[in-house]
């Protein structure tokens, strides 16, 4: 990575952590609403189905990445699509990660202000988060991954234990035998749910740094499975504590679910504050990963400017862009657009690449793929 550090070497466990930390961020606070709007009581099935779609997309990504085991997507974009279209795709990747960070940070700031710091300006919350983002990102990918490794398991364990408290007051009558309304509602809720799985596409960027490439698919799919189970647990939680009618009318259904927790009357009075404390590290890892990936994408596209300079440039840009939307609803339209780009980059884009690879190989423009399991 151009003198910033030694070449990164991502182990299968680290890849699992990286994927999990990137996927689970701010989206899950809102996700049950989107899933339940159409699938209602069957929303947990939609979540599992979306996870399966994500694994399918991951399989496509690894198929492409395996053809170029020592290159990042920025290198083979130009090889496959030519320098102009390839560079445009590279810029698209950079912008996608940039706007993912922007939307994520603004949503995080809105939640923190609304539930925790009502008198603190959003600008201050965003600025504070951005400053702590730059610190670990400054020295490259490996410190970020180590941070994921050290923080995520404990955070996840605590957050699951926290939500189990909500299950104590569950109304199991809210559950329904699946497929009573057929499969159409489950499938129609898929687009809103699948956004919450975005993040695993970073494999396009970091595949060359994975030490055991033969295990890349397995590690990342395990991460997606873990995310799917976590999401299903949350959707089920909102269903049995709030019910579908309340869930679909809440701005942040998972935060509302936390408000149902009462450990001992008047002892833990506002449990949602605990949730926010536990959730912030999850949001932080997502912002960190996407912010770094954005700088990394631009650096790989325009290598004359060092990675750290790209971070310095992107930092105020994220700050300014995240303050443009008027309110949370406006921000959500931004998020939906970013999600659409994400969907393009995870499903049609690898398919197009696979077609290009086949065509280019037939034309003799590409050599045969290298063997799997190469250690970089």
């Amino acid at each position: 990575m151009q003198g910033l550090e030694q070449r990164p070497a991502i182990s299968p466990t680290q890849l699992f952590m990286l994927a999990f930390g990137l996927i689970v961020g701010v989206g899950f606070l809102i996700m049950p609403r989107g899933a339940m709007e159409k699938a209602r009581e069957d929303a947990w099935l939609t979540v599992i189905l979306a996870g399966m779609c994500a694994i399918l997309s991951l399989w496509l990504i690894t198929r492409v990445a395996r053809m170029f085991p020592h290159d990042t997507v920025f290198d083979y974009n130009t090889k496959l699509f030519g320098s102009i279209i390839g560079s445009l795709f590279n810029i698209l990747w950079g912008l996608y990660f940039l706007f993912f960070t922007v939307t994520g940070i603004r949503v995080m700031a809105e939640v923190v202000r609304e539930e925790m710091l009502p008198f603190t300006p959003v600008e201050v919350i965003i600025a504070a988060m951005l400053l702590v983002l730059v610190y670990p990102a400054w020295n490259g990918l490996m410190p970020i991954i180590r941070m994921f490794e050290s923080g995520l398991p404990v955070t996840l364990l605590l957050i699951v234990m926290f939500f189990l408290l909500a299950y104590l007051r569950a109304d199991w009558a809210e559950l329904r035998i699946p497929f009573q309304e057929g499969v159409t509602p489950i499938i129609s809720a898929l687009p809103q749910t699948i956004y919450s799985y975005l993040g695993f596409e970073v494999l396009f960027l970091y595949y060359p740094f994975v030490t055991h490439k033969d295990k890349a698919f397995a590690s990342t799919s395990f991460a997606i499975v873990a995310v799917g189970l976590f999401y299903a647990f949350l959707v089920l939680g909102t269903l049995v504590t709030l019910g579908p009618d309340v869930t679909t009318t809440q701005t942040f259904p998972v935060v509302t679910m936390a408000k149902t927790i009462e450990v001992v009357r008047q002892f833990v009075e506002r449990a949602e504050l605990l949730l926010i404390i536990l959730w912030l590290p999850l949001a932080y890892t997502t912002h960190l990963g996407f912010f770094f990936s954005s700088a990394f994408s631009f650096h790989r596209t325009f290598p004359r400017l060092a990675l750290r300079w790209w971070m310095v440039i992107l930092l105020p840009l994220v700050f300014i862009l995240s303050l443009i939307p008027d309110n949370f609803i406006d921000m959500q339209t931004w998020s939906d657009k970013v999600g659409l780009v994400g969907l393009f980059l995870t499903i049609p884009y690898p398919l197009i690449m696979l077609v290009c690879i086949v065509v280019r190989r037939r034309l003799g423009h590409l050599s045969s793929p290298r063997k799997d399991g190469d250690v970089t």
Binding site: A173, E174, E262
Partner: protein, 399 residues
């Protein structure tokens, strides 16, 4: 400037910056400068006219705790009547808007209102009957609002409830909140707080709220409940009806079941655990719902003197007798409630989700569903313990 000095300067700047951020002094406010609201009482006043249109007007009473233990009663005009070291202050505001009313606390008491610790919402009967939709919107929109905040209906002038002193609690709002929670925790009353109200309103299901009233001695009691349909109070339930409804709704916690003996005396069974399941079916186009109740009880009082419980058959006999009595009572209450209100007070809408035909029928036309519904109850009552005494003393037996 040398590199070493530059680094030193940078380190000092960073430490100072972090110090400012972490110290928590920025926007810090003393507790005394915050108006921590523990209870609000709302009732409806005659409407005002604004631009030729009628506008709903409310009287909002806000109870603020006084951390120093000294306060006073502030009237609508903002005048303070100092009283001897009260732990709360009541502020009464007349307003068409709840948020505007609560914000006016700043001008009346120079403190910033904080609703994060609200324990009780008291709804006046006039407001309850006219509809709580505007109050509901305000309460559920507030991010600080807890879903366990108790909501009760106040049968009488709101201000009298919020000035009734309590021995155990520092303020009347906290006293009423604790009372309402205890009433719901026992068998007497199905759960009813902001969370349940929110769920019912969104699901278009009727809900029940505890009703507080004042007795002759001006003490607060909670012996009744109010039935709400479409956010309007449509009727009241007696203590017995509340208890029966709790059993049918599967809201069974510890509580006392009383059965009459001769001469007005009673047998008391303490509920240890229980469950109420439903067995619904559509027969000849009519919904049939069987409530299957299973209760574990403890005999705590037996005024029907002269009985002995030293044999298992005698316990079984008592179980059959009280089981049959309870069944009769529950069927009567269920029929009475469904015929009177014609709404789903039994929370069947949620419980019928796994019976598509019935669920569709109750969702589409709850009134017809309730009119046509045939209710049956099966009670399996078990006496698990009879206490320390095997035999009850009889007055007729000579010493």
């Amino acid at each position: 400037m040398t590199k070493r000095r530059r680094n030193w300067l940078a380190a000092v700047t960073v430490i100072l910056f972090i110090g400012v951020l972490l110290a928590g002094c920025w926007d810090y406010r003393e507790l005394e400068k915050r108006a921590i609201i523990v209870g609000i009482g709302v009732d409806e006043l005659p409407p005002a006219t604004s631009k030729g249109k009628k506008m709903r007007m409310y009287q909002v009473l806000v109870q603020v705790v006084e951390p120093a233990g000294a306060g006073g009663n502030m009237g609508a005009g903002g005048s303070t009547q100092a009283t001897s070291r009260k732990a709360y202050t009541n502020i009464v505001i007349t307003t068409p808007s709840f948020s505007e009313g609560i914000e006016r606390i700043v001008s009346l008491s120079d403190r910033i209102p904080n609703m994060a610790h609200l324990q009780l919402i008291g709804v006046g009967e006039t407001l309850a009957k006219n509809g709580i939709n505007e109050l509901y919107d305000f309460l559920t929109r507030l991010p600080q609002m807890r879903r366990h905040t108790e909501i009760i209906v106040l049968d009488g002038p709101v201000s009298r409830f919020f000035t009734t002193p309590s021995i155990s609690q520092p303020s009347p709002a906290l006293h009423m909140a604790e009372m309402a929670a205890n009433v719901q925790r026992t068998l007497v009353m199905p759960e009813s707080n902001l969370g349940v109200v929110s769920k019912s309103v969104r699901g278009h299901i009727p809900f029940i709220l505890v009703t507080a009233s004042l007795d002759e001695n001006k003490n607060i009691n909670m012996k009744q409940a109010a039935v709400f349909d479409r956010q309007k109070m449509v009727g009241t339930l007696s203590t017995d009806q509340m208890q029966d409804l709790s059993l049918l709704q599967n809201e069974i916690e510890r509580g006392l079941l009383s059965f009459p003996c001769s001469g007005g005396k009673k047998t008391g069974l303490q509920v240890l655990a229980g469950r109420s399941r439903i067995e619904p079916a559509m027969r000849n186009g009519r919904p049939h719902v069987t409530f299957k109740l299973s209760l574990q009880t403890e005999l705590i009082e037996y005024q029907c003197l002269g009985a002995s419980f030293d044999k298992q058959e005698q316990i079984r006999k008592a179980e059959r007798l009280y089981g049959a009595e309870l069944k009769k009572r529950l069927i009567t209450t269920a029929n009475k409630l469904k015929d009177k209100y014609k709404v789903d007070v039994f929370r069947l809408t949620t419980r019928l989700k796994n019976y598509p035909d019935l669920y569709k029928a109750i969702r589409n036309d709850p009134k017809t569903f309730m009119e046509q519904m045939v209710v049956d109850v099966n009670v399996k009552l078990r006496i698990r313990t009879i206490g320390s005494s095997l035999e009850t003393p009889s007055l007729k037996v000579n010493p």
